[in-house]
């Protein structure tokens, strides 16, 4: 039994079952944008940049009651082990669409009528749960761009490997595990804004997994908040 993914409650990379990978964030990484942020969880790195609010092109998309948002999620060629073909793929279009639905719920779109906000998310390193890192980065970049928001959103994944429930799927657990379940969590109203799943599990397992993943999201939310409050302390000393 050499290639067991979980041994005595410890995973391949030495984490406990309900432990997140190392979280890192950097704010205002790009100066030419309204707001930008880098978010990394383990080896998964996402950079989000926000442009706007700006004029809406093409014109027919313009809405006189609320803002329109555009999300472009792309995985860079060097982000995976095998070279990734640059540009949009079926997968990136799908993920852009689900991220857009999440962000539409947290931005107060009614405050910015007749405008458009562009959110570009690049994945620099992919080691499972890229869409979670993408949502976390986008949420921080939007806050920095000064766009009115209901709250920040945090996202995290969970899964099932060898009949054990784990938080924050990574590396081999993603490719060989049974279930991968990313969620985006809105802490203010206790809502789930994104839930995708592949694999089969029972209802009891889903309930347990949701409790676990919500806990992970709350940890990430606190981390995001702390980082955002600290950057302003850096500003003062400069």
């Amino acid at each position: 039994m050499e290639n067991k993914l979980i041994k005595d409650g410890e995973r391949l990379d030495g984490r406990k079952l309900d432990e997140l990978r190392e979280l890192k964030a950097e704010l205002n990484v790009s100066k030419s944008t309204a707001g930008s942020a880098m978010f990394s969880i383990g080896d998964t790195i996402a950079v989000a940049t926000v442009h706007g609010p700006m004029e809406v092109y093409p014109r027919f998309l313009e809405n006189s009651e609320k803002a329109v948002i555009e999300v472009n999620y792309t995985m860079l060629p060097f982000s995976t082990d095998d070279r990734n073909r640059p540009g949009f793929s079926r997968r990136s279009v799908e993920i852009s669409a689900v991220i857009k639905r999440v962000l539409e719920r947290i931005i107060i779109l009614e405050d910015l009528p007749k405008t458009k906000i562009i959110i570009n998310i690049d994945i620099l390193g992919a080691d499972a749960s890229t869409r979670c890192a993408a949502i976390n980065a986008a949420s921080m970049a939007l806050v920095l761009a000064g766009i009115p928001m209901r709250d920040m959103v945090s996202s995290c994944s969970a899964g099932k490997v060898e009949d054990t429930l784990i938080l924050d799927v990574a590396g081999k657990e993603d490719t060989e595990g049974d279930i991968d379940l990313p969620i985006a969590y809105f802490p203010l109203t206790d809502e789930i804004l994104l839930l995708q799943m592949d694999g089969i599990m029972t209802k009891e397992e889903l309930d347990k997994l949701l409790d676990m993943v919500k806990g992970g999201c709350k940890q990430i939310y606190d981390f995001q908040k702390e980082t955002l409050l600290n950057i302003e302390k850096d500003l003062e000393t400069k």
């Binding site: 707001g35 107060i108 806050v143 928001m149 203010l188």
Partner: protein
Amino acid sequence: MFMEEEKGYIIVTPGTLLATTPKTGNGTYTLNKKTYSKYLGILKRSETHINVLPFKYSYRPMAGDRIIGRVKDFNYPFFIVNMTSPAPSFLYLSDVSSRFMEQDELMQQYKPGTWIYAEISEISDRIKLSMKMTEARKLEGGRMASVSPSKVPRIIGKSASMIKMIQEKTKTHILVGQNGVVWIKGDNAGIVVKAIEKISREAHISGLTDRINKFIESELKNGK
């Protein structure tokens, strides 16, 4: 939770609970009869209002605002003016001057790329500018600087104390647009740009005017 009372100001992030009753104010919203913050910014409380002053926000035009913009194009019967807001603004030929001017003359004077100081006269389906007020002018020479629109009140100061002080010390002429564009004319324009950058960084810390005063004095000494 992450509040720091002893510094005299509190920084809040979006979604921070500010009051358990619905209260009015700028930069806040109510949900389920509770008041939350909309922006990352400084919390300002008064008896009736709760305001959040964002560190950064995009300019939203209001009628009566005086702005600095750049003529982008002419398209009869108006000039299209870019003023760093999401939508462009329009300066109609009839609103350019209070005296009558020929169209050819106006087109000569307001070529694309000209900076102007104008007032927003009306916001309907499009933003209309007017240059009929006495302060309105074409900006020639000088230097431009840009700050977040949320810092404009700090650059002007209480009853224009800050801007008066800077102008007297550096012997420059300064015009500030509500959209965050600043025009500076004079020999010490470089120092003013530095001072404005300092203001926009430290706007929320008290004793700002004194610090800027010292900063300008030391900069002037270094220059000579």
